[in-house]
């Protein structure tokens, strides 16, 4: 192994894609368990149960452990959401990887052109970016990063990460 990192494929997460006016979304999803929405683009807000990522213009992702998926769906009620907002279950659309350890940033430098320096990509940084040529979500976590890619690319991503750390 070239770098001091641990790379692992994570279990399925519950994910909801939210698009539309922020106030309309907040009005639709009212739950005491939910954290506030992030106040800066490309950052996340986390509480013990949920994470909210601000990933684009009028675009957020909500994430939780898969065990809380039903709760998440109840909160967001995708099929009944008003026409102004889009609420779509995307839990199965993503596969997550964690790259952790002292050299995690080295692997991310190989994988992505994003500037992941703390001054540009803060501790709660999250962004869609190019990861080994594929659209992927990069999230800074304790001691490293998480990568989420469209699930069809999961095997390829694992292959790439293994090669990067060969």
């Amino acid at each position: 192994m070239g770098y001091d990192v641990k790379i692992q494929r994570l279990a399925l997460n519950a994910m909801i894609d939210l698009q539309g006016d922020a106030e309309a979304i907040k009005n639709w999803i009212k739950d005491d368990d939910l954290p506030e929405f992030p106040n800066k683009p490309n950052t996340s807000i986390t509480n013990q149960q949920f994470k909210i990522y601000w990933v684009g213009i009028e675009h957020w992702l909500m994430r939780s452990e898969i065990e809380l998926e039903d709760h998440l769906l109840e909160m967001t009620n995708p099929s009944a959401a008003p026409i102004e907002i889009s609420v779509v279950q995307v839990s199965d659309a993503f596969k997550f990887f964690e790259v952790s350890g002292p050299d995690a940033a080295e692997i991310i430098s190989i994988a992505s052109p994003i500037d992941h320096h703390l001054t540009a990509f803060p501790e709660n940084g999250v962004s869609f970016t190019n990861i080994f040529g594929i659209k992927g979500l990069l999230i800074r976590v304790n001691n490293g990063f998480e990568i989420a890619v469209e699930s069809s690319y999961a095997d390829l991503m694992a292959d790439f990460l293994q090669k990067a750390n060969a």
Binding site: M1, G2, Y3, L12, D17, Q19, G20, E58, I83, E84, I85, S86, V88, Q89, V90, S91, D92, A93, E106, S109, I110, S112, P113, I114, D115, H117, T119, A120, F132, G133, I134, E150, S151, S152, Y153, A154, D155, L156, D159, F160, K163, A164, A166
Partner: protein
């Protein structure tokens, strides 16, 4: 052989405690840690290191760094690679190198015969000579003879290549005095700095000169400075790292030759820098005179480097020849090394800058070197008084030449910055920058250390937008003489000498070649370059380009700035292909995508291959010893007669929602969607702006202004971009949101007459009757215990149910289907049988019938073109196309006269089968299990009006005749799929 034969007894930056054994041309030598291959060979008395590219003349070492034009080597063994300047190869245990352009050795080279026929092979001779019977007749042997090395045929054993990305506030290219002081200034201001240098260690020219900085040896200042930089978290200092490309938006590429990371053989960095300082120094020019390529003729700065840095004596009796003042520092160091300095030949008419301490040197003012003597090594020179023509012969074995200094503007020029000619310095210097970059130090034509450092600090402050008060304190420096020069582009040719004056040593281009090009009308600098190859290849004109420009100027009677420069191209130094690709090789060379049942498919013997958008899908599932066609026939028959299941997961899927969603759908598709009912879907065609079919698919209405769109597999990403582009650029006011759900939903498609029975067997709460669940409807409910969206669409022409479930449920659903389907003899089918079935139905396939040239009308899809919609993407262009040419190539069916003859897809159709312009081509040809014969689809000129006509398909060795039919061979009324 002894490593100390030509080594000084002390000094240098080599580690004499570490002896290293290496091989060169199958002979074992020794050197010291810190030696380059060039210095180690020189210390061993090896002066003949290569043969020239074209004439196979003896060649030695000319430079000391990346500018080396003469001696390239190939590395063999585990590090196998070519195009390595001998001066950039560090010796290390196990190093095995050999010379290029010679066989069997540089000392005895059979191809040296070229020297004797050189008059027959001047520049561009092959353009004129190898015309008859055909260039390609000669090409293979010329290619074998040309080239600077053979390509490696195996991978490295010592790790892999890596490419990575980096960002910084300031990238400093070059860690000489300017680069180091700039890095120190920037780093202390807190900026994120990357400092990259081509050399084994930082220091640049300071490593080769005896200078004092702050009262200490320059090397001590270098090491203190680098230690300070290394201690700062905001600095990345790279050595043996060449910045070789400057792209748009301040993207620069660095390749690190020996990264410290275990298993990484070479590493390329793609650096996005906010600001760039180019501190690449200057490259010394060669001087052009007869036989100036003899081993023993070297750049003066290289001699200085060898005697100071490597403690090598490059010769015993030396002469220096220059047109500028920098030669006297070399003279001083040469004297100090113990090499006998016989004379300095200074071409300048008046020399006022001879240092006080060198008054004892014999200086020939206003003289030039007319010719070198010797065959495989320099033995003497003839010098000539420029005023009187009087000549004198001087015995010597080393000649150092300096034609002046060119700022290394390659990267600056690559950044699209303009260079301008400075007559006082007789060189091109950086002009106006186009990107956020500046040249500093010698790269900006500043040549004294004091000025170099002041310039570097000032421009660093500018680059970082810092107040001048933040400038760091410069160390005290010793006074230096100002640089002065008188241009000498070449010594006048003396035809009577019958010797060659090389202007580009690497490409074996002589002054006569340049004159020949100009005589033949190729007198622009870019034409001269192409005619003669001067400045091409890995050299990129480092030592010779300006002399070419000067020679053209002299011949034309103009100034060099009127001639201009050629284009400086990347890479600045040779770069291995592996360093460009990094880890993208082997299993990830072609990206791939898998569905949830990919492993199941592999476990069940499916032949998997790319089927668009990087998806690896099952092509067919052969049983034991089944042949391809047998398998495809079996699978196709199964769908027509029984029941099969197909992995349709890769189909593109989007959820589209918002108050303006219907407007978007109507703008994308050619047909109307405004009367679509909830729970129903509609087939639609998307056109591009040119009115050509771009994609097709089915879109279901989930609710008002809420849709579930499916697209072709191959175009899913492109359709997404198409929609986003339209919304973001044409209709940013429309409130529509698109969510990609291609991999959220997996899809198992049951197809065949028994599909409904199978659905019932699986168990579902959906009413499957044709009345409750008609063709093109979508229903949600439980199927086999899984929550599903079931769609009644068909790509095969049979009754079909597309069962969409969450991807996590896909494998379980698939296994349930296989288990429950056993009584129905269910079997999975692949994309090959799907292809057969869709051809039987005459359904279009992207890439076949919809090949980027066809309109819906060409394919008989006029019914899908709304006559009432005022607009949709591609409408106007489509109408114009049809108006201009109503008899376009149109979709038809074909029945070959020989029912067993399969025709290649894309085979041309020509009038009478003659070899003339085609009137169409075969888009698909399959064995039909329904008709038990070959059927085909084709695009044929005015085809819709040529039914029953016989057409002619050209194959490689014969012509196939076929009858034109309607492009549907099965269930023309579509009753089965609606059943």
């Amino acid at each position: 052989m002894s490593k100390d034969l030509f080594r000084q007894t002390k000094g240098g930056l080599i580690d004499r405690n570490q002896t290293i054994t290496f091989q060169f041309n199958d002979t074992t030598y020794q050197g010291y840690s810190g030696d380059s291959l060039a210095s180690a060979l020189m210390a061993n008395g090896i002066y003949l290191t290569a043969r020239s590219f074209k004439y196979h003349r003896p060649r030695g070492i000319v430079g000391s760094g990346y500018e080396e034009p003469s001696s390239l080597v190939e590395l063999v063994g585990d590090e196998e690679s070519g195009n390595q300047p001998i001066t950039r190869v560090q010796i290390r245990p196990g190093l095995n190198a050999r010379s290029v352009n010679c066989w069997p050795s540089p000392n005895f080279d059979l191809m040296a015969i070229n020297q004797y026929i050189s008059k027959l092979i001047p520049a561009a001779f092959y353009y004129k000579t190898f015309k008859w019977p055909n260039w390609h007749f000669f090409e293979p042997s010329i290619r074998r003879a040309a080239g600077l090395a053979s390509a490696p045929n195996k991978t490295h054993h010592q790790g892999h290549y890596e490419t990575r990305n980096a960002h910084c506030d300031l990238l400093i290219v070059g860690a000489g005095p300017a680069g180091l002081i700039a890095a120190l200034q920037a780093a202390r201001s807190g900026a994120r700095v990357i400092l990259a240098d081509d050399g084994l260690e930082s220091g640049g020219s300071l490593l080769s000169q005896h200078l004092k900085i702050g009262g200490k040896e320059a090397i001590d200042w270098v090491r203190e400075t680098t230690a300070s930089l290394d201690a700062m978290d905001n600095v990345t200092r790279l050595t043996e790292a060449t910045v070789w490309a400057y792209r748009e938006h301040n993207l620069l590429v660095i390749t690190e030759r020996s990264p410290a990371t275990p298993n990484v053989f070479q590493r390329s960095w793609r650096v996005r820098a906010k600001q760039v300082l180019i501190a690449t120094g200057a490259i010394e020019r060669n001087l052009v005179f007869a036989n100036n390529d003899r081993p023993g003729v070297m750049m003066a700065s290289a001699i200085q480097s060898y005697v100071n840095r490597y403690a090598v004596k490059p010769g015993k009796r030396a002469v220096l020849f220059a047109n500028n003042s920098s030669i006297y520092a070399v003279a001083r160091d040469l004297k100090a090394s113990g090499v006998e300095l016989v004379a300095v030949i200074d071409s300048r008419s008046s020399v006022n800058d001879l240092p006080e301490d060198l008054q004892d040197i014999h200086v020939f003012r206003n003289f030039v070197v007319e010719q070198c003597h010797g065959t495989k090594h320099l033995s003497a020179i003839t010098i000539k008084n420029a005023a009187t023509g009087e000549t004198t012969k001087i015995v010597c074995d080393l000649l150092g030449v300096s034609g002046g200094w060119n700022p290394t503007v390659h990267l600056f020029s690559q950044s699209r910055g303009k260079v301008k000619y400075d007559a006082n310095l007789a060189t091109f210097i950086p002009g106006e920058a186009v990107q956020a970059c500046q040249c500093i130090g010698s790269a900006s034509a500043i040549f004294t250390l004091q000025q170099v450092m002041e310039d570097a600090v000032q421009k660093t402050l500018q680059a970082l937008d810092l107040d001048p008060g933040n400038a760091i304190l410069l160390p005290p420096l010793e006074p230096e003489a100002e640089y002065s020069i008188e241009a000498l582009w070449h010594v006048d040719l003396n035809e009577s000498l019958c010797s060659k004056s090389f202007i580009d040593i690497q490409n074996d281009v002589t002054l006569s070649d340049v004159h020949l090009a100009m005589r033949e009308g190729f007198d622009a600098v870019e034409h001269v370059k192409r005619y003669t190859t001067a400045g091409m290849g890995i050299d990129q004109g480092k030592t010779g380009n300006l002399n070419v420009i000067g020679a053209i100027a002299l011949k034309n009677g103009c100034e060099p700035d009127e001639v201009g420069t050629t284009t400086f191209r990347s890479p600045f130094v040779p770069i291995e292909f592996g360093a460009l690709t990094g880890i993208r090789e082997g299993s990830v060379y072609l990206p791939y995508r898998h569905t949830s049942i990919t492993q199941w498919n592999k476990d069940h013997g499916a032949k998997m291959y790319e089927s668009g958008a990087r998806w690896r899908r099952p092509g067919y599932y052969p049983r034991s010893d089944e042949l391809f066609q047998t398998t495809v026939n079996r699978e196709s028959r199964l769908v027509r007669e029984g029941l099969a299941v197909y992995d349709g997961a890769p189909l593109g899927k989007f959820e589209i929602k918002g108050p303006d969603a219907l407007k978007l759908i109507d703008m994308l598709y050619t047909n109307n969607f405004d009367n679509l009912k909830v729970g129903m879907g509609r087939y639609g065609l998307m056109l591009n702006e040119d009115g050509i079919i771009f994609d097709d698919g089915v879109t279901f209405k989930l609710a008002d202004n809420h849709y579930f769109m499916s697209t072709s597999t191959g175009n899913a990403d492109t359709v997404n971009q198409h929609m986003e582009f339209f919304l973001q650029t044409h209709r940013p006011d429309w409130r529509v949101k698109i969510t990609t759900i291609t991999t959220q939903w997996a899809n198992a498609t049951l197809c065949g007459p028994k599909a409904r029975e199978m659905m019932q067997a699986l168990g579902t709460d959906i009413d499957l009757s044709n009345e409750a669940f008609p063709f093109m409807a979508m229903r949600e409910g439980k199927v086999g215990g899984f929550q599903a969206r079931v769609c009644r669409v068909s790509f095969t022409g049979e009754l079909s149910f597309e069962i969409n479930v969450r991807s996590r449920d896909s494998l379980a659903l698939w296994e349930t289907i296989m288990e429950v389907g056993k009584p129905f003899n269910i079997s999975p089918v692949g994309s090959e049988s799907n292809h057969v079935l869709r051809v039987e139905k005459g359904f279009l396939s992207l890439g076949h019938e919809a090949d980027g040239t066809t309109t819906p009308q060409d394919l008989g899809l006029n019914w899908a073109m709304s006559k009432t919609k005022t607009d949709y993407i591609g409408k106007r262009a489509n109408e114009i196309r049809l108006a201009e040419n109503p008899s376009r190539w149109q979709l038809v069916g074909l029945l070959p006269d020989d029912p067993k003859e399969l025709v290649d897809e894309s085979a041309p159709i020509t009038p009478g089968g003659r070899r003339e312009s085609s009137e169409g081509f075969v888009t698909a040809c399959v064995w039909s299990v329904v008709h038990n014969r070959v059927i085909a689809l084709a695009l044929l000129e005015n085809g819709q009006h040529r039914m029953d006509e016989t057409i002619y398909i050209r194959r490689k060795d014969h012509v196939v005749t076929a009858k034109v039919t309607a492009p549907c061979f099965y269930d023309v009324k579509g009753q089965l799929l609606r059943s």
